[in-house]
Amino acid sequence: MHLNDGEIPAEYLKYTGRKISLILTGIALLFVLLVYSISVGAVGIPPLEVLQTLIGQHLSAQWQTIIWNIRLPQALTAIVAGAGLAVAGVAMQSILRNPLGSPYTLGISNAAAFGAAFSVIVLGTGTMHSSGADAIVLNNPYITTIVAFIFCLIATAIILLISKLRGASPEVMVLAGIAIGSLFTAGTMFLQYFADDVQLAAVVFWTFGDVGRADWSELIFMAVVTAACSLYFLYNSWNYNAIDAGDETAKGLGVNVERIRLVGMVVSSFLSAVIISFLGVIGFVGLVCPHMTRRLIGDDHRFLIPGTIITGALLLLAADTAARLILAPHILPVAILMAFLGAPVFIYLLLRGYSR
């Protein structure tokens, strides 16, 4: 067929240009927020000095230590974790064609938490040293990550198995996720019941998701996993658009729907598992951010996926900055603030509808 006599309509270019502008604005906002987040805290550092320190100028040894050892890794962890959880959420929502898909609602966070508790209590990979921000020391975080990941996969496998059953609707899958979440929560409680005081404290403290936990090596590991998984999701953005149009339409367009669904769930579970096992459970990011972005940018995954990555990074960095300031000098784990903010924000988004 020869259909090469068309012209790209200006209206369409304007339409896509607006979405690209929104994503670029998000990136600029993220940079501003990053500098602000580093500048505020118990010791205030002017934003300009933050920038100068970041580009390598040695202004003050104290600022140097605060920025490079405490605030920058924490802020970057918030960005990476927010981006990772949000992109995992948007992928799950697309793969399952269900707006309630997220690592939190599908029980994957609970499975990861159980895996981490199992690792800490049964395998002895975590101990509690003292009170304070670095109370938890995971002796071998990679084993904790692997165990959390294994339990994430088990939760994912159960959801996919149920989805294979005849007549299983997306609603059934979400309900299955809730059931799986409850099951793993029960398992975590069971382990906690038999744990000693130190282990129990370690597990309970672990579940308060906190971006202040990660050091540079863990941050780099999470960043590499998040970048790789995000690239995978971006590469598949056309496939997700096709799946949105219905499984049969997608298959007619050459999309191997079952494989995309399976691999997508495995990749998003892996990403969630890595972040959750390093930082603890941080809810609502994976659920709320895709919806926030949809309302700003629409459902086209070419723009929705990068947009959600930026929104997730922005939201968790903003929440973590607020969590550090809200009860200063005490630092609130970001998961607690997210839980308080997530539900009302989600309801607000549902009521507001699309702006497009």
Partner: protein, 251 residues
């Protein structure tokens, strides 16, 4: 031949749906599959498009066995318009652009965008282009599905009840577009349809299915009161009008 089917069989669990189906479709030909509900018309289209895997037999598109090539390669040769179009939240332009999926790796090219625009103009859908498809009627969605299948640049178009949710005017328009695409490009179309009179007007050949097997195949001459009674268990008369044969049920 664009499509050659030999001895295709398909069953859902233990229930046989298609048995020993063999036929061929020539270039620039519109073939319509007729038959009562549940006889396997849609299943046959899904087998041709590899959505279903036949239990036996072979399906060749341009002499290539579709079971032996990758799904994107099948999609480059076969465009499918399903019976029910699901409403996503894309603009019509993007929903049609989706038809370029088999040809896209990372992102669309200028050629893809120009092709969509050309099809939009050819199908007189300029007013719909930037509207969101979840705000559209069934008929408008059907047109978008057909436009999407056209930008796939297939050799074979499969249309499952393409006029099921269209009013009379849109039925005529859509089928005229399908016929135009078939006549002006080296493309063939296989449709399923319930309206025999519409099928008579827009098809070159017919395939009548009964009890999961081919009952008759041929040109308009096979649409007789006898074959229709055999296939549908309904008494009809076939009247000859200036525009061609018309099937009239006897009340």
């Amino acid at each position: 031949m664009i499509l050659t089917i030999n001895g295709v069989e398909f069953q859902y669990n233990s229930r046989k749906v298609l048995e020993d189906i063999s036929f061929a479709v020539r270039p620039n030909e519109v073939l319509t599959i007729l038959g009562p509900n549940g006889v396997g018309k849609t299943t046959l289209l899904k087998c041709i498009n590899r959505i279903h895997h036949p239990k036996a037999g072979s399906i060749l598109v341009e002499n290539e066995d579709i079971m032996k090539v990758s799904l994107p390669e099948v999609a480059k040769k076969v465009g499918y318009v399903p019976q029910h179009c699901e409403k996503g939240r894309l603009t019509a332009y993007d929903a049609i652009l989706l038809g370029r999926r088999p040809h896209i790796t990372w992102n669309t090219s200028e050629k893809d965008l120009k092709m969509v625009e050309a099809v939009i103009r050819r199908l007189h859908m300029q007013d719909l282009a930037m509207r969101y498809i979840d705000e559209m009627s069934g008929g408008e969605l059907q047109k978008i599905s057909i436009a999407r299948a056209i930008v796939q640049e297939p050799k074979l178009l499969l249309l499952d009840e393409p006029t099921s949710s269209l009013d009379l005017k849109n039925q005529q328009e859509i089928l005229r577009i399908v016929c135009e695409v078939v006549r002006t490009h080296k493309v063939s179309a296989v449709m399923t349809m319930h309206d025999i009179n519409t099928a008579l007007r827009f098809s070159d050949r017919f395939l009548l299915l009964k009890d999961n097997v081919i009952f008759a195949t041929g040109g308009p001459e096979i649409i007789t009161p006898e074959t229709i009674y055999e296939v549908y268990d309904v008494e009809v008369e076939v009247e000859m009008l200036k525009s061609g044969p018309v099937v009239v049920p006897i009340c």
